[in-house]
């Protein structure tokens, strides 16, 4: 199956391991990802926070380029995903925005394709049954808590994907690849997102709280599907934190893909844990 793919800035920078593990598992699962040509930053918080219309226009350029590919679009970053979902509606409702963007890009926009988060594609299109069949290295004895963060699942009218207060998708994926998914309190708590650089104090407090709850639940590590969540939990706890994985890395390991070049990029080193459980080969 072919999909238009929007990696977003993080997957090319601070979340390179999310990018490379995404490419690896999609290839293994028969998904052909075709990058949106010449994509730009979706505008992120800085766009919609300071000039809402400009934020929408920046995101819209990518949607127009993606629609031209004639495929459904998959997005790995939760924040980009949310911006695109909102902008798609705006492009349909706001004729002025659509008209100006069509003029700038020289391409008409119909919004005739789907915008999906990677987690949704893996779960609902590839499906758990296929994944289970492909698992060669079940992540036995690994105790994880699934962390969804904010905008992958909410608000539901927009994301149309899983339950917004009690999501299950990552839970079920974890179980499908042989690891244990623990129930816990902070599944959909916010990590402080883009305050990461401007209000380090706030993000530290939130990240600490979430990692503490994960520890209390008995987790050895945390599974995420968002570059901001991963970065904040991985980097802002300090010493004695828990390893924080992208779900794509866990899936990759279970599919028997050698993931050293992902895993060695983490700030909280996950290798001692994985080696002790014999899930990766030692040095």
């Amino acid at each position: 199956m072919k999909l238009s793919y929007f990696p977003g800035c993080s997957l090319d920078g601070t979340a390179k391991e999310y990018g490379s593990s995404t490419s690896a598992i999609c290839q293994a699962l028969g998904l052909e990802l075709i990058e949106v040509p010449d994509w730009n930053c979706c505008g992120a918080s800085s766009g919609h926070s300071t000039n809402y219309l400009l934020g929408q226009a920046l995101a819209a350029r990518n949607l127009i380029l993606a629609e031209k590919q004639g495929l459904d679009m998959v997005v790995a970053c939760a924040a980009c995903f949310s911006r695109f979902k909102k902008t798609n509606i705006a492009l349909k409702e706001n004729a002025e925005l659509r008209g100006k963007m069509e003029e700038i890009m020289g391409i008409p926009y119909k919004g005739s394709f789907q915008i999906r988060h990677l987690l949704d594609v893996i779960y609902n299109t590839v499906g758990l049954e296929t994944i289970k069949k492909e698992v060669t290295n079940p992540l036995k004895d690994l105790r994880l808590v699934p962390y969804y963060g904010c905008v992958i699942v909410r608000p539901h009218e927009l994301t149309q994907f899983d339950d917004e207060e009690q999501p299950q998708v990552i839970d079920n994926l974890i179980e499908a690849i042989g690891a244990e998914s623990l129930p816990w309190s902070d599944k959909t708590e916010c990590c402080g997102a883009s305050l990461a650089l401007t209000r380090v104090d706030i993000v530290k407090k939130l990240a600490r709280g979430i990692v503490e709850m994960a520890k209390e639940a008995g987790a050895q590590a945390i599974a995420t599907a968002c570059p901001l969540c991963q970065a904040n939990l991985d980097m802002r706890y300090g010493e004695d934190g828990l390893p924080v994985f992208y779900f794509t890395e866990l899936l990759g390991l279970a599919l028997g893909i050698e993931g050293k070049n992902w895993l060695e990029r983490h700030i909280t080193d996950p290798l001692p844990l994985l080696t002790s459980l014999n899930l990766v080969k030692g040095e």
């Binding site: 918080s45 800085s46 402080g192 997102a193 305050l195």
Partner: protein, 194 residues
Amino acid sequence: MKVITIAKTGDEETVEPGFAELVQQISGKELRQCYHCLKCSAGCPINFAMDWAPNQIIRMVQLGLQERVLSSSTIWLCASCETCSTRCPNEVDLPTIMDTLKEMAIQNGIRSQQAGIQTFHRVFLNCLREYGRMHEVSLLALYKLLTLNPFEDMGLGIKMFRKGKLNLLPSRIENVHELETIFRTFGESKRSKI
């Protein structure tokens, strides 16, 4: 504009009767139906750091307390996490309303105690205009310098660099001129000033 006296403190404050209407008009979101059940504020992860709770911001907009709202830290600290909008029984879209309030604050030249966040957004958008994508090293260096805090996160930055998480050189997209046109077309918001 009307001047009122706050009964409790005796302080005088200006009230802008058309404020709520204007916020609704710009944001395209209704806020009159909020009945202050506090569900938003109870679930807001950032509430502890805000000067006004999210529902208090809505209340102050309803009352026309424009200056207090636009100079508040709350509007800048909102992380757009959508917890409140998901739970609100009256479908008040607080994060979008917070965005409108930030935009109004900028247009009216109102600085809050969170000026650093405003600087960050400016640096971020300039970087995006220049390259089309985010370049963390330029962003971080410039932001930390401009906020006179060059050493905050220096240790973490070095660790990230060692782990290959930071690209030293930015990459520029091919049609960066299209972004320039987008910035010029939408950069100056056509919306009316207060």
